[in-house]
Amino acid sequence: MTAPHAAPPGRATTSSRGTRVLGALTLAGLVLLLGYALVWSPADIVQKDSVRLMYVHVPTAILAFTACFITTVASAMWLRRRSEGWWVLGGAAAEVGLVFTGICLVTGSIWGRPTWGTYWDWDPRITSTTLLFILLVGYLALRRIDNETGDAAQRGMRGAIVGLLLFPNVMIVHYSVDWWRSLHQKATITRLDPTIEGTMLFTLMLGIVVFGLLFTWLLVHRFRVGWLEERVGATGLDQALVERRAEAGVGVPAGGSA
């Protein structure tokens, strides 16, 4: 066991040299991306400038699905190993994924208005993505339910089982445009001959990379926050037990009788 305060204390944050470099790269990338997305890339012949929403909508969708994949893997690993790291990773990825799914839905809705003439439609991909959003909210809520009673094993089991359902739902979102009639177009960039090219393809790829860097930065920080929450929770429980024992000790009269 390490002696108390043997390591240099450092600043009490969730950042490290790695995250600071990653953060700087992300900010620089965002500036470049804004230049390409809003100025240097051409407007689409059909969609005109509304196509510029693609450079935020598509990357956030891809990263939302990546987050669900991470949560599903972390849930499976938790069921196998029961280690705290996988538990914290599952929650961190789901929370970041919820933010990206929300942004994907909102930007898609805004893009839908000038493109399809509506903010909302019961389109298979929109509906299944909304279900994914609700599933993520449910997963995160379920992880917190037994916090007060302290039944960590049951809480973990419930959370992990819902976590396993996330990525299969992503597959439904992905294939929904093939299985049902949809306003969304079929695969555009995941095929060998992408249907967009030139500066537009480059900007979309740049968007995926830059939002990917931001996603990674957020995930690392959120993982560390989760790790600290577990430490603080454990310390709080130990402290409460010590206090209870002390109270019980005080309640017993010295010598055993009055």
């Binding site: 600043r11 944050t13 509304s50 935020v56 930007t107």
Partner: protein
Amino acid sequence: MIAMTHAGYVASGWGIALVTLGAYALRTVRRGRTLAAQVPPEERRWS
């Protein structure tokens, strides 16, 4: 930038995305600082 069409939609979409992500990043970092102050340095493996 010359007379962008759908400028309101583009600005709203990008604005909401960047403000949401910025606010979430700020909240996460602040939450981390508050929690990190309650935990001994040896428990913060990254620092």
